[in-house]
Amino acid sequence: MPETANELTKLGVKEIRDGVAGGDFTAREVAESFNAAVAAAAELNAFIVTTPDHALAAADAVDAKRAKGEDLGKMGGVPIGMKDLFATHGVQTTAASHILEGFKPQYESTVSQNLWDAGAGMLGKLNLDQFAMGSSNETSYFGNVNSPWKKDGTNAAMSPGGSSGGSSSAVAARIAPAATGTDTGGSIRQPAAFTGICGIKPTYGRCSRWGVVAFASSLDQAGPMARSVEDCAIMLEAMAGFDPKDATSLQMDVPNWEAALDADLKGKKIGIPKEYRMDGTDQAILDSWEQGKAWLRDAGAEIVDISLPHTKYALPAYYIIAPAEASSNLARYDGVRYGLRDLPDGAGLQDMYAATRAAGFGDEVKRRVLIGTYVLSAGFYDAYYTQAQKIRTLVAQDFENAWAECDVILAPTTPTASFPLGSLNEDPLTMYLNDVFAVPASLAGLPAMSVPATINEDGLPLGLQLVGKPFDEQGVLNAGLAIQQRAGFEAKPEKWW
């Protein structure tokens, strides 16, 4: 590979977009460089399928536009990774499941279409936890995703987080400048934190869910994952927007987040929720939180203590609501119309359902379908689902009350750094605790972002989380930018793949 090609994969979204627009290099050169980097990184298992031709075609279109002096779009010339939860026309879309293996949609998700319309191209479909259920990227039918990071002094394969683990791994390894993610209960923020990159889940409804394989409809929200706050702002602008095909889509204009980025936080109040100081949280995480406060104070913000009293109920409530919705959302994978069909000899309809779903779903998916079915069952509905919805309301009210005292909330993204693949497999509850800090913002539908803060004593990245008021992605991005500027996070994984 020529020297310049290697150099191009170091670039982020903004640098590529501006470089292509300015004629420093062509979009095709960028696409070729990343295609080559993707092809050389098979060991990460970040992609389920690669689509080099898609990336090249999009790049050529951008180069042709530039030759004609036309507008190149918000993401003009930027090749990205697409989480394999987004339906892509004619390109296999699996949600990392066996049941959808080989499924090629005849439609394009709104978010991916928005990105292509903005000039982006697709490097491939990124691996993830099956149906976005998981926090370590170990539930994919297509194998674990490896983090590019290693714990100092060990060679153990580390988790890139989940469910958007293919996205985090690819962006951290610099085989994609950015990737789409989806976040139901932390699936953008936790992998971003584990891999030293940025990721933002916007306000629920900002990004259309049309064409995104559903996990838990009232929580699912797409967002960008990239290596800087600016890149996230740019890409989120391209992804977001009202979509009449999604009844929960926000009927609001997309703000110009990139142009309004401002790290000066004078007059802003940053809330520190006391309930996020939980047992079992790493000291290094707590230290980085203290450091984060200092950075934001340095940026002009006032730090205030706040209380979110129902925080401890959020995770249990989430693990009722999300599986309940999932148990129903996944009923359509029945072997009748598309995807896997397992029809044993002489089998009837019920046998076909059972065989197809037994073969097509992985253990974690089955676990959640069972939980969801149970909590919605006659006699249990009120005790579980209704109670969980009440908690959800209380959690949202906690935030409403907090906004009277602060503009943005600062908290850790996760209680720990990344862990070796396989280390939590036998312990789903500990695995679920990974999202304990991420889930409250999901239940409340609030914009929330993880930005890299520092490296712990094992050489692994730690992230800080910023949660904002409804529709105030700008406040979140600005606080994130203030941290980014002060953290000076330059660490990157050493290439081993």
Binding site: R209, W210, G211, S217, K245, A247, V336, S377
Partner: protein, 499 residues
């Protein structure tokens, strides 16, 4: 007539009936997808990605379907719920692609309402009766399985999948098959007036789940009910109730007990059969559909719905009686069906303007014509009649001629026969065929003079007080005039001359 009773070995029983009517909403598009709703299309040609439940597809409510449900609610004087919500009813079946039906369990769009079934002595409904309606909710229809296309496989047609249904749930207010039949007919009439459902039971646009229980006369407790699903005609609804009530009474009197269960009606054998009992009933795991926000109706939308409502059957019937002066029977007959009152009102308006009198002055004449004379002529001609010739204009002209005394009732029928055969102009036909009454007093006087002269004895008797003989003179005069004399003129001249 007696109340409906089932005679059992241990005494008399009464039946308690509630109906859940599923009415397909008239709309070009399905409840949550843009797909077409055309009936009879090739299998799987009216299916969107949403209907087929492809991964990542989302429902978006169709405003027209909501509007029709609200208008229907208004037509049964029901509470319109400004806040309602969709729930998922979860179960697996091959005709249900999503694995759930989107319905409204907890918060339906329409709350309590009512309709009135009219007294019908012959049918055993001695007086008007109010039937309560519990609620109307909207939900998706399922697809259709075809088991006769392949020796070992079943085929699925998703054309019907996702079409909007209104489920109209009555209270258990009906106590006889006749009342249930009248309820379905009245509901169908209202739906068709409103235009929210075509009421076509043969095509499955309307079907009923029939809930039946029995109890000893005098008891106030409800018995265990059965639900017979998907009954698709008024006749079958009534038959189900008769069969099911009899079956339940026999069962209880033989020492058994009624099981709460779902049953199916077999019209060929006129009996109901158990489909599944409560024990193996589904647990539908209803919960609010997270893909959809609660449905909140704005005041302007509700007002628009109300403003778009036509005059409804009861109001129209009363207006026909009170303002047009029609008999209760005629008013009811004319208002039962949308087509009937439509034709009547067109003809009434044309006739009134042809004659130059207010509608109320000619309404009775037009009603009699529309309900008995015209259909009689049409029927007597059979295939010779071309219904396309039955225009309001032609009929109005005939009625106007009759009103002016130019033609008799018999002549009107004759002229109408020609009109139906040929499509000719009634006035021209009357002239050509000589189908006109004579009102020329000279000719009539001449005839009467002759009759008086020839019947001196009868004249004496009449003048002596035998009033009945007046009819004789009329008959003789009409005979002499070959039936074409205007009876009113004949009467007048006879009275003058006979003194």
């Amino acid at each position: 007539m007696e109340k409906y009773r089932i005679q059992g070995a241990t005494g008399e029983w009464e039946v308690v009936i509630g109906l859940e009517v599923h009415a397909q909403v008239t709309s070009n598009a399905k409840l949550f997808s843009g797909a077409s709703t055309a009936f009879g299309a090739e299998p799987n040609t009216q299916v969107s990605l949403v209907d087929a439940a492809m991964p990542g597809m989302l429902p978006v409510p169709n405003r027209e379907c909501i509007r029709q449900a609200v208008r229907t609610g208004m037509a049964i004087e029901a509470q319109i719920n400004k806040w309602s919500r969709f729930d998922r009813k979860n179960y697996f079946y091959a005709d249900l692609p999503q694995g759930y039906q989107i319905s409204q369990l907890y918060h339906p769009i329409v709350g309590e309402g009512q309709l009135v079934i009219e007294a019908d002595e012959k049918a055993g409904i001695p007086e008007d009766k109010i039937i309560g309606i519990e609620r109307i909710h909207v939900e998706q229809d399922a697809g259709k399985l075809m088991h006769d296309q392949h020796p070992t496989m079943s085929y699925v047609d998703l054309n019907r999948t996702g079409i909007a249904l209104m489920e109209i749930v009555s209270k258990p207010d009906m106590t006889s098959p006749a009342e249930a039949g009248a309820y379905v007919r009245k509901l169908r009439s209202i739906l068709r007036y409103v235009g929210s459902c075509d009421g076509n039971m043969e095509q499955g646009s309307m079907r009923a789940d029939v809930n039946v229980s029995v109890r000893k006369v005098g008891s106030s407790e409800l018995g265990t009910r059965t639900e017979t699903k998907n009954v698709n005609s008024v006749r079958f609804v009534m038959a189900v109730i008769e069969q099911e009530a009899r079956r339940q009474v026999d069962l209880i009197e033989d020492g058994g007990s009624v099981v709460q269960e779902t049953r199916l009606y077999d019209p060929d054998r006129n009996e109901t059969r158990s489909m599944r009992s409560k024990e193996d009933a589904h647990d539908y795991r209803y919960f609010p559909d997270p893909d959809l926000l609660p449905l909140e109706l704005e005041d302007s939308f509700i007002e628009e719905c109300r403003a778009s409502l036509p005059e409804l059957p009861d109001a129209k019937r009363q207006r026909y009686e009170n303002e047009l002066g029609l008999t209760p029977y005629n008013a009811r007959e004319l208002t039962a069906e949308v087509e009937t009152f439509g034709r009547f009102e067109t003809l009434l308006s044309a006739t009134a303007s042809q004659i130059g009198k207010p509608e109320a002055k000619v309404a009775t004449q037009v009603a009699n014509w529309a309900l008995s004379v015209a259909p009689g002529v049409m029927k007597s001609l059979g295939d010779e009649a071309d219904p396309a010739n039955a225009t309001a204009e032609a009929q109005a002209k005939i009625l106007a001629m009759q009103d002016k005394g130019e033609i008799s009732g018999g002549q009107a029928k004759e002229i109408y026969e020609h009109v139906l055969r040929t499509g000719g102009d009634p006035e021209a036909i009357a002239d050509e065929k000589g189908l006109k009454q004579v009102s020329d007093t000279g000719a009539i006087e001449e005839a009467i003079d002759g009759i008086i002269a020839a019947n001196g004895d009868k004249v004496e008797e009449y003048r002596g007080g035998k009033d009945k003989l007046f009819g004789f003179f009329v008959g003789q005069t009409m005979k002499a005039m070959q039936g074409k004399a205007n009876p009113a003129v004949v009467n007048q001249i006879l009275k003058d001359k006979l003194g």
